[in-house]
């Protein structure tokens, strides 16, 4: 019993920070609480939810957030696997190389978000200069709605791939090397080794990286807020940013809370589905390995 007492402070903190807000949002989502009501909560019979269901801007932001998450997480997993395979090789100055590869992940997102704004600046940034001199036209990487979201994806990949690579590297280190030797003796090339040994045995780690990265990407905020401010033409606006605008720019706390709780339901069901898919894929591959 005294064991439980030790856990209580942490659990209280967790409940205060994670559970209380959700109750508060649920309650607020049934109230009008904005400048119009003098920032006093007045029940409004689900008007927030009516608005939420028909909010095309939210729908667009949800689409953008999902597009951003899926593309960047997929790229991060592929690239992270490549980097993990590189870092797994025996090499000199391994510690130094690993630290250098980690640096993008350790820097504050906002620091490099502005750095990217300079690098992708039109017309003075280096990328725009390159496209001007090679293609003869400006790329306008942050001003063109159809390109800007890819630019933010690129910045996200740069920052979080090291995290994915490290998790996958941990996985690579658990694979016994005699598996590869046995496969080589039977004449398997490195491609077959990768497909038949590395990837199946790495699946739990791939699943883990996928889950954590998806959850983080769904909440993308810092990067977009600083790099593009949601623009151009709201093309890079994420749902977290939209909720933020609603609360602190439009001062509509009731609707912002509705967005939060609505997004929470949508995103956690997506994460749950991913988790189910990942675990079934893992179990199936374990069965086929056992055979």
């Amino acid at each position: 019993m005294p064991l439980l007492i030790l856990l209580i402070p942490s659990l209280l903190f967790l409940v205060a920070v994670f559970a209380l807000p959700l109750f508060r949002y649920t309650w607020l989502s049934f109230h009008a609480d904005s400048v119009m009501t003098g920032l006093v909560a007045i029940p409004n019979q689900g008007a927030n939810w009516q608005r939420f269901i028909h909010d095309t801007r939210y729908l667009q932001d949800l689409f953008q957030t999902l597009r951003f998450s899926v593309v960047s997480v997929t790229a991060e997993i592929v690239l992270g696997l490549v980097i993990a395979l590189i870092l797994h090789q025996p090499m000199r100055k391994r510690a130094l190389i690993r630290s250098s590869a980690l640096i993008p992940w350790a820097l504050p997102t906002t620091v490099m978000a502005l750095g990217w704004r300079w690098i992708f600046n039109t017309p003075y940034g280096p990328i725009d200069r390159l496209t001007q001199s090679w293609l003869g036209q400006s790329l306008n990487a942050l001003g063109e709605p159809s390109i800007a979201w890819i630019t933010t994806v690129y910045a996200d990949i740069w920052k979080t791939t090291p995290f994915v690579a490290l998790i996958l590297l941990a996985g690579l280190q658990t694979i016994p090397s005699d598996l590869y030797e046995a496969a080589k003796l039977e004449g398997a090339g490195s491609w077959i080794c990768l497909r038949r040994i590395t990837i199946p045995l790495l699946l739990p780690y791939l699943g883990l990286a996928l889950m954590f990265r998806l959850a983080q990407a769904f909440g993308v905020f810092d990067l977009v807020q600083v790099m593009t401010g949601g623009g151009p033409a709201s093309s890079t606006e994420s749902i977290a940013l939209y909720a933020y605008w609603n609360a602190l720019r439009f001062l509509d706390f009731g609707y912002s809370a509705t967005i939060m709780i609505g997004s929470f339901v949508i995103l956690s069901s997506l994460i749950l589905i991913t988790w189910l898919v990942v675990t079934t894929a893992r179990n199936r591959s374990q069965q086929s390995l056992a055979r």
Binding site: S10, S100, I103, P108, W158, D222, V226, M260, L267
Partner: protein, 271 residues
């Protein structure tokens, strides 16, 4: 072998090129930035660094603020997480699994969505603009990761060790102080660094809680430079600020590469 070397080189360029560009920008005069190929009588300058260091409040202030919040929240996190993870490691399999699932759920929660409620709490308790108060949500948000990492460390210790100490008549506090804590110190170090990095880099909560310009943390101060105007960001001073703001973290990663990697990877292996 040659291919590996080429790939390593590519990896280094990929990770470090953007920072190198910021370093280059920070030493260029404004004119050199706009017309890179023209011959200029003055190409290099330290002006940007001077303007950043002499601004009001001076840039060092933000670094100190971040350092303070990072240190305090790391301390708070460990204070809460070490006893919790000890008790979690001693618990029955089923109940500890339930709590672990709850913790993983919290860790997967997109915490940005919490900022509005946290802001309300801060307003209600009049905690806005307090760096000490800011450490509280950071410590709470760090609990899942810290508890999971430390529970693994405690579970890895052989149970006989503590039993022997108990037979010798050591109290719980003595066992903690002289036997358990020294043995899990590597895990504590990794956890501490990961929590510190999180608090140092955290943005949305700091953005909404702190408005007093003398109390901004580094990420918010950086973003404010951009927030002034979408079109005329002072890129030279900004690049200088990036460089100064990155140095502590680059040193941190270089020095603590081992505990960072082991923290992230043991989390992955056991989680």
């Amino acid at each position: 072998m040659k291919a590996t070397r080429f790939l390593i080189l590519a990896l280094l360029v990929w990770s470090l090129a953007p920072l190198t560009w910021q370093l280059y920008t920070s030493f260029c005069t404004d004119q050199a930035l706009v017309t890179p190929f023209a011959s200029l009588n003055q190409r290099w300058t330290l002006d940007h660094y001077q303007s950043v260091l002499n601004s009001n409040p001076p840039f060092i202030r933000y670094l100190l603020n971040s350092l303070f919040v990072g240190g305090l929240s790391t301390f708070l996190t460990l204070l809460l997480a070490i006893p919790s993870s000890y008790s979690l490691s001693k618990m029955g399999r089923r109940s500890s699994l339930v709590i672990k699932f709850f913790l993983i759920g919290c860790a997967l929660f997109p915490y940005v969505l919490l900022f509005l409620a946290l802001l309300e709490i801060a307003r209600y308790l009049q905690l806005g603009n307090s760096l000490i108060a800011l450490a509280v949500p950071y410590a709470a948000l760090s609990q899942p990761l810290a508890i999971l990492l430390l529970t693994n460390a405690f579970s890895d210790l052989p149970a006989e060790l503590e039993d022997a100490a108990r037979v010798e008549g050591l109290s719980v506090v003595q066992r903690f102080r002289w036997i358990l804590l020294p043995l899990i110190s590597p895990a504590i170090a990794s956890t501490a660094i990961l929590v510190f990095l999180f608090s140092w880099n955290e943005y949305p909560i700091a953005l909404t809680w702190i408005s007093d310009s003398g109390k901004l943390t580094l990420p918010v101060a950086m973003a404010r430079i951009a927030g002034s105007s979408i079109h005329s960001v002072p890129y030279g001073p900004y690049a200088a600020a990036t460089v100064i703001g990155s140095i502590p973290l680059i040193l941190l990663v270089m020095v603590f590469q081992k505990p960072i990697v082991s923290g992230l990877t043991t989390g992955a292996v056991k989680g």
